[in-house]
Symmetry: C2
């Protein structure tokens, strides 16, 4: 089973990297760009065949390693 875990910063958490990217996009000629927020995606292959169990395991992986849950949100999506 293939899944995607998307990790993004919580609202209100400053994102200097995103700000720098936004400024760079402006200087590259994209004036219409507003806020830019950067996050991470993890495409994970998992041996689990039961969808619910896979989602539970992926959430546990996010809680333990993939996301810093103090400042980040995560979402789990089973792809195929």
């Amino acid at each position: 089973m293939k899944a995607r875990v998307t990790v993004t910063l919580k609202n209100g958490v400053l994102d200097p990297q995103g700000k720098a990217i936004g400024n760079a996009l402006h200087s590259l000629g994209f004036p219409g760009v507003g806020a830019v927020r950067q996050g991470k995606v993890f495409d994970v292959e998992i041996a689990e065949t039961d969808r619910t169990a896979a989602e539970a395991a992926l959430s546990a992986m996010a809680e333990k390693l993939l996301a810093n849950t103090v400042i980040e949100n995560y979402s789990v999506e089973i792809i195929g």
Copy 2:
């Protein structure tokens, strides 16, 4: 308009970071994990109101800055 640009490594490109994460997940007690590939997501606010023009602008941003198109793929998704 809000959009998400997802940047992932092309198939065949080695991902040492993903490998390290996979190993870490194994040692954290997730034996069923196979390959792990890490990518980036950019949540971008864009002043454009026309969907097609927004997608074109976002693709141009990915081509110019957000993705290294030699080793990375990108996808553009209009969120709202």
